[in-house]
Symmetry: C2
Subunit: 344 residues, 2 copies
């Protein structure tokens, strides 16, 4: 798929910096909030950015790799958690309600027949991927279809006036997929990339790393980013990859969540590096390989509170801090306006 | 002053932990949010804690030590910033508005005659402290008066139904006061304790450290915590110390802000160590000595986003994350409620 992503231009950088620096506060004293305010001002190309209709899209999909015993939870938890999202009882429901973020839940490829439900977006490509221990998880066509689906979702949200979007995921087995993508895209070792996921013990982590290592050997000749995504990814991951690329094309601010969502970004980044111009990193996940991803992308996330839940929860919890950045830029007085003496 | 602070009891710890652990999420996957939920449940001694009428009290005071050239801003900025608070244009106004936190502004000891204003709480003890380079900043009576004032403010807020409270400060010269308190209470060196404040260069920081070092020598025989606070503190700092002790007595959750507010807590802690049972640390300030304070108090703050503005802004920005913790504890489904399979 081709996306036409324009680099963020720096036309207003000097004026934004001046606006930030003349607020009634010691220079630089809002730290990361100042960086965020500058970045969103640049993305929106205005001195008065706004966050409109923030949304988080949770994409769910199942993974054939679970056959290899890589997760302590059974595969049925994927559809059960989708039902939990629809019922309003999951963590992402709580945090999006708290922070007035619109929540969308999409079936990107769950191994379950849901009853037709107005609340669930049906973009199922197939009932779960195949195991990448034996072959590719998806065909290129299936992977492209999932990416198109993600792009379509984002296009709709953009039409409804949303200019900031986060992504979440649910899929038993998907940390295995994300670890394999991390290795394939950054050439780090399976050991560096593999963590506890939903709660493996040391033995389980070692087995999971060995599954990944063998799969990397099997698929060692693959270099095209879409092919890498199709080989190791999942439907929810590919959907998010396409969604991020479309969001960047539409000049929306992208809130990047934890390990799985960042693996989707790794794929997007290898397809089009400019996508990073539109990304804010919500949090550093406690899932082991996330730090490797963040370092690779030179990313400096807002929160580091040892979360590793997925579902987009890191983005939902970090959102008020992003809003603080935009609000101070718009609402704080300058030294001149407030009649406050500046540094002598 | 005496405060009767009851230690937080652990009666419900097991039940709270069970409630947290049976939510639909991998064990421990909400990281610091789980610690916060547990702590607030313990403080309120309930499985269903609530955050009621959150408030931030900003206390302002002037400092005689500014005579020694320790700040790049003139003293008049203290009253000018108080006017900015009353006008709604300061950072703390923006962030408390955003997060529905009640903001109170108190003149604890500003060197300015404010016109009577319904918005400004007049608890002025004196028009600024004396320079602690020559003698004590306050008399013991003045220091006690400021502490009583703080306690009174908190008592009123508690009567109005507030059960979570943060503190902010404004006072040109007060990082010098806070650094001296840090040295006096923890025996660290002036160099370790002294940072850039509102923006000193390396030469300015060295001069400030030397002012502090000389003052520590002058007052080296003082060991009583109230006397230390009176000697090196400020009216806004002593007001916050008394306020924190009263808040703990009333079993309120205390949001601890950055460098200055933590210096007030150091004093409170040396008067009554149990105050810590009621404290949540909002953020790690970028002001150099804050890390020393946090380590001394064994504190693990929520945010580390390089803020160093004061005014209580760290607490105001961190508040939604505290709320996320309480909300997940109250609103998330358990595995059983949601019909989700637990770990195999």
């Amino acid at each position: 798929m081709k996306f036409n992503i324009e680099a963020v231009n720096g036309n207003l950088t000097e004026q934004l910096t001046h606006k930030i620096n003349t607020k009634t506060k010691p220079l630089g004293s809002l730290g990361k909030l100042e960086e965020i305010a500058l970045k969103i001002g640049q993305i929106q190309n205005t001195l008065n950015p706004e966050l409109s209709n923030p949304a988080i899209v949770v994409c769910a999909g199942d993974h054939g790799i679970t056959e290899e015993g890589v997760s302590p939870f059974p595969q049925e938890v994927t559809f059960q958690m989708v039902m939990n999202f629809l019922g309003g009882g999951a963590a992402i429901n709580v945090f999006t309600r708290q922070n007035n973020i619109k929540l969308l839940v999409a079936d990107a490829g769950v191994n379950f027949d849901f009853e037709s439900n107005g609340k669930l977006i049906d973009i199922k490509v197939a009932k779960g991927t195949k195991s990448f221990a034996n072959g590719a998880a998806m065909t290129i066509d299936e992977c492209n279809k999932a990416m198109e689906n993600g792009a379509g979702l984002v296009e709709n949200l953009h039409k409804e006036g949303s200019n900031i979007i986060g992504f979440g995921e649910m899929g038993i087995g998907n940390t295995t997929s994300a670890s394999a993508l991390l290795c394939a895209f950054t050439k780090c070792s399976a050991t560096e990339a593999t963590g506890a996921g939903t709660g493996l013990d040391a033995q389980g982590i070692a087995r999971k790393a060995s599954v990944i290592e063998n799969a990397l050997k099997l698929h060692k000749d693959i270099t095209d980013p879409t092919e890498i995504l199709a080989t190791f990814g999942g439907y929810e991951i590919a959907t998010i990859t396409g969604a991020m690329l479309k969001a960047a094309e539409l000049k929306m601010t992208i809130l990047v969540d934890g390990f799985i969502v960042t693996s989707a970004l790794l794929a997007a980044y290898h397809m089009n590096k400019t996508v990073l111009d539109y990304c804010l990193f919500s949090h550093k996940s406690n899932e082991k390989g996330h730090e490797v991803m963040l370092n690779y992308l030179n990313a400096n996330p807002v929160l580091d509170i040892q979360m590793r839940l997925g579902e987009g929860t890191g983005s939902a919890v970090a959102y008020p801090i992003i809003k603080s950045a935009v609000d101070f830029l718009n609402e704080m007085s300058s030294f001149e306006d407030a009649g406050v003496s500046d540094k002598e």
